[in-house]
């Protein structure tokens, strides 16, 4: 069955430190992969997406993600986090019937 797993429910990093949020997928074929961010009491917004080509994709606000077919992963990274990056981050993969398969989300907490 197709699935997306975000193994870390919560990640805490210091402001200015680097960040990696993990995402693993299980999908037959090559999926479309997405990272979305949800700020408090808001809807989700797209950070970046990947389908093919360069496995490292750039997104908004300095975020990037790297696709690994061998590892079935699509981890999100940022070189230096800011307090405004505090949010919940969701990884998703395209499924059949134009549905997205969602991970359970990772809450990012930034320490001053």
């Amino acid at each position: 069955a197709q699935s997306v797993t975000q193994p870390d429910a919560r990640v805490t990093v210091s402001e200015g430190a680097s960040l990696q949020l993990r995402c693993k997928y299980s999908y037959s074929g090559t999926p479309y992969l997405f990272w979305y961010v949800q700020y408090q009491r808001q809807g989700l917004q797209l950070l970046l997406k990947y389908y093919s080509g360069d496995p490292v994709v750039q997104g908004v606000n300095g975020f990037e993600a790297e696709f690994s077919k061998s590892d079935s992963s699509f981890h999100l990274r940022k070189a230096s986090v800011h307090w405004s990056d505090s949010a919940v981050y969701f990884c998703a993969a395209s499924g059949s019937n134009y549905q997205l398969i969602w991970g359970s989300g990772t809450k990012l907490i930034i320490k001053p």
Partner: protein
């Protein structure tokens, strides 16, 4: 700019009552979705639609109906609301399997 508008933003309903959540999109997207978001469950798909007149069951359709009378509008209907349906509901629209999905800001529903 792509826009998905949900109404109401907050709703308190009584057990056994009928609740209608409305969603309007100005993106001219064929696909629309209703999700609920609960702590520990991430996003769960309730119903979705491929276009006016179509509705499809998602992963958790029990207790919910959907209506897509036009390209722009997609409603979620709780005929007999129960406390277990207390949640935050998100509407979204999308153009295709590899395109961005745009979310509304959510409706916080409390069933007492």
């Amino acid at each position: 700019e792509a826009a998905v508008t949900q109404s109401p933003r907050n709703k308190v309903a009584v057990t056994g009552g009928k609740v209608t959540l409305s969603c309007n999109q100005t993106n001219n997207h064929n696909n629309m979705y209703w999700y609920r978001q609960d702590t520990g469950h991430g996003l769960r798909l309730i119903h979705y639609s491929y276009g006016a007149g179509s509705t499809e069951k998602g992963d958790i359709p029990d207790g919910y109906k959907a209506s897509r009378p036009s390209q722009e509008n997609f409603s979620l209907i709780l005929e007999l609301a129960t406390p277990s349906q207390t949640s935050v509901y998100f509407c979204a629209s999308g153009g295709g399997v590899n395109t961005e999905v745009f979310f509304g800001k959510g409706t916080r529903l409390t069933v007492v």
